[in-house]
Amino acid sequence: MQVRVRLFAGLRERFGAEEILLDDLPGDATVSTVRAILESRCPDLRGLPAAAAVNLAYVPGDRRLEEGDEVALLPPVSGG
């Protein structure tokens, strides 16, 4: 299963990319699976607070993913 992952603000800066494609996700992958993969590639992300969105809506970490989903990791927002 393939998903697109988007990163923002401090997460984006630490990871060094604003978007990546994850190709070989298992069929039961969740948002937390994605986060764990990113942390294994970039240990600097560990402990950073982040909410998650799938296809432009907030989701809990145990949300199961589907082929083609757009997953976003969102540090605490500070707009306004």
Partner: protein, 139 residues
């Protein structure tokens, strides 16, 4: 309720909003403008930089407007948020709400800015003389 939302890299024309929302059936117009402060948590700020997850910002604003529509009886609502560089003293966000009665105009204006600060995926970077920080104090 007729609501519009704009994300822009240009300077926000704060004074233009209120006259645009009012009609002769409105008795009240409430506005809120958030501006870039010179000082944050005791440090001197040089400028702000805002980053947005634009398609989700639009989706989230649609949800926030739908919720406001259920809670308040208002006429026209406009929200403009700036992204990119915002110099000190300029507006990062402007909200204008017109309504027949003041409680709805004031209540909706406050509800909108509170919800926007809570859930809309936009991030502020404060740039100081000796570094930068995401978020900062979010009040």
């Amino acid at each position: 309720m007729n609501a519009s939302f704009v994300l822009t890299r240009a300077r926000i024309d704060v004074g233009a909003l209120a006259p645009e929302v009012r009609t002769d059936e409105d008795g009240a117009v409430a506005t809120f403008v958030g501006t870039a402060r010179r000082t944050s948590q005791g440090r001197r700020v040089l400028r702000l930089e805002y980053e947005a997850y634009e398609p989700m910002v639009r989706a989230e604003m649609a949800r926030i407007f739908a919720d406001a529509r259920d809670r308040f009886r208002v006429g026209e609502v406009r929200v403009v948020h700036r992204v990119g560089l915002v110099p000190i003293g300029e507006a990062s966000i402007a909200i204008a709400v017109a309504a027949p009665h003041r409680a709805d105009a004031l209540g909706a204006c406050r509800h909108l800015i509170d919800r926007i600060k809570e859930t809309v995926p936009i991030w502020k970077k404060e740039v100081f003389e000796d570094g930068a920080a995401w978020g900062g104090d979010r009040s």
